[in-house]
Symmetry: C2
Subunit: 412 residues, 2 copies
């Protein structure tokens, strides 16, 4: 089925009826960095969101969650990447409301249909005058051109080294439909509090219920399986908007066409999640860990995440050091249940595949070959726990001098 899904050029505006803009309003320090983005649909969208599990939730997260819970409809997203508007009390929430109202007034829509996202400095008030000017400028810059989509992808970045965007095309109920996504990640930097923000647009017509269920399910398998430094920000937000302009018969049941949509959505989210991991702060390599034959999905996820979260594994990957002991050790303290004596561990990359551990003990592998396999930009660890049928994959990155530098020396 996935053969019928093709990657196309263009970003967040590839699906019909979406416009975007990204520009510098002047919220971030510096003179040239873009710091505000807007994504707008011609018509109201069925919408779903998933938000940070951090108990400390930024004001915009509170707003978006409330609006989606009450209405499940959105037509615009506005983002600033300079100030997080977290730990800002009731004034902070008031400023989100004012932002939504300003966007709504510009677009002649309801404030309740405006999703607000922020990332950046925590604890500081938003410079509302600058921000509201930015809203006006964004309104003027809105366009469905590829460049506008790219500007939006760029404007939501903080310490990301490059924008992250993807667009797919596929057939639903005989109609051509599209889905596209952008995101930013990178880690958390002082005084900025970096964040995972993502907007996904599609012109598929689909019920709110299916939209919400699909997003939730795949967030678990994609964004929630990524770790750059183990820290969960106050602002993490994913918003998925479906405007129905592909004019397909609406998806309301779990049929084959819904499966096509699901496959495309998962592909978008997996791409974005992998790219967040690969572009982690200071990262030089993407580390993918897949656990197979676990007793259940939960155990598989715990194991995969423990491998990519371990500072020791991460530092070993940076050093291209096939330290299977650290991998097995990280699995051992993860809290998941498995028999260490049944574990098989392989590493692989474009260079080749090598079995490091068999039956819980080291094989007589070639250290030089192991180092070669660990050298490309993407390296994969596969841990077979021989205890069942469940599988999970997690994505992380190596731990480097630059991670420490970025996070310790920010002000210097």
């Amino acid at each position: 089925m996935s053969e019928s899904i093709t990657i196309i050029n263009g970003g967040i505006t590839a699906p019909k009826g979406f416009q975007a803009a990204g520009l510098r309003a002047g919220i971030k320090p510096g003179k040239t960095n873009k710091d505000m983005a807007m994504i707008v649909s011609e018509v109201p969208c069925a919408a779903a969101g998933v938000f940070t599990r951090n108990l400390v939730k930024a004001a915009p997260v509170q707003w978006d969650a409330k609006m989606l819970e009450e209405y499940g409809v959105a037509q615009a997203v506005v983002v600033n990447s300079g100030i997080a508007n977290a730990c800002t009390g009731s004034d902070g929430y008031e400023n989100v409301k004012k932002t939504a109202e300003a966007v709504a007034a510009e677009l002649a829509i309801q404030p309740e249909q405006v999703m607000v996202m922020s990332t950046g400095v925590i604890g500081q008030p938003l410079p509302m005058e600058v921000l509201l000017k930015g809203v006006k400028a964004l309104r003027g810059a809105l366009s469905s051109e590829e460049q506008a989509a790219h500007d939006a992808a760029e404007a939501i970045m903080t310490t990301d080294t490059h924008p992250k965007e993807i667009a797919l095309e596929f057939q639903i109920k005989g109609k051509t439909a599209r889905i596209a996504g952008i995101c930013k990640g990178s880690g958390m930097i002082h005084p900025n509090m970096g964040t995972m923000l993502s907007v996904i647009t599609t012109d598929v017509m689909i019920s709110k219920e299916l939209l919400k269920a699909s997003l939730k399910e795949f967030v678990e398998d994609t964004f929630n399986m990524v770790s750059v430094d183990g820290d969960t920000s106050t602002n993490d937000t994913v918003i998925l908007m479906a405007n129905g302009l592909a004019e397909n018969d609406i998806l309301t049941t779990e049929d084959g066409d819904f499966e096509v949509f699901r496959t495309a959505l998962k592909q978008v989210m997996t791409f974005l999640a992998q790219n967040i991991a690969a572009d982690g702060e200071g990262a030089t390599r993407l580390l993918e860990a897949t656990v197979i034959h676990a007793s259940d999905k939960k155990q598989a996820k715990i194991l995969a995440k423990s491998i990519i979260t371990s500072n020791l594994t991460k530092a070993a990957v940076f050093g291209t050091d096939a330290n299977w002991g650290r991998i097995l050790c990280a699995m051992g303290y993860s809290g998941a249940e498995f028999d260490p004596n049944q574990v098989k561990i392989q590493i692989s990359s474009e260079v080749g595949t090598l079995t490091l551990v068999e039956g819980g003990m080291a094989t007589d592998y070639d250290e030089e070959l192991a180092t070669k396999i660990l050298s490309p930009q993407k390296v994969i660890v596969t841990a077979d726990v021989n205890g069942g049928e469940a599988t999970a994959t997690a994505w992380g990155c190596d731990l480097t001098y630059d991670y420490v530098k970025i996070n310790a020396d920010y002000r210097s």
Copy 2:
């Protein structure tokens, strides 16, 4: 009560009837590093142990846990700091048994009373010939002199930058008694797998039950509240031996004298735990986090540990950056329950104390003063969550370039 407890010179042999030795047997690479230690009591000791929770348990951990469970008596501890003897299968366990038998033969005691500890390379077989020669040499070097105790403390080190030892004197039931401890920590290094190992000796006469309960309780508050890099090794072991040679009336109930012993034991374990954190791999600073007014002890511990475990907090401390947002954020994603709007955060050190957050929002604090407070070797974060009466303290260290260097570049 604790006024009657005084720190004295000497190490693990300060309590009556204990001898120690530390020397180079030749297990570690290099030519001069000590790599084996022995600690022996003249008479059998009531003994208790606490071991790694990692599902992957090294062979010596399996041996010690089994022997203490079955007998609760020990008379000697033998340590090698070159090879972990983890992931070595049944041969590994057989080698532990052989080691215990060799020690027992040298000392004319039972193998079941010999505790074996290892740390170092994972997955490699022990060089038994070298190790058994080491056992003989240790037997010859045993002494109750301070230098012998120091040699033992040094011989258990891996990447520790200095030995960690303490001895205390106090009165129990009208008799002068002593307790002493050594430990190693530092982190986990490839191909060595560093480990927390600790031996605590006392001449107090005490029942096995009280000994076991006290050790278990305080491990929770001390060693288990330390994190260098969040990784739990396969070999972590703490052994507490009480030989009764202070000749006090045996402690069997929870009376005032037992409280004195408990206070002394906790002081030893707290000292060792703090020193493990302060000497973490690459660390330049000890970070102590105390959470007060939590709803219960469990929540307090989760919060305190989350603060000292966060890579972002750790990197901020390295950069002497008063990044309160990261502290609050780490509390928020810890899973503990609290009201972020009630949180007060202070930092302190020998330089002074500063309130960064009040009611969940930043105070108008002096950034320069904050940097000064964060500069000494020990910095304290106090988070008041205003939700109850429980308190907990955790110890960590900063995340530095050297941590990455030690763990990535080991072979170069």
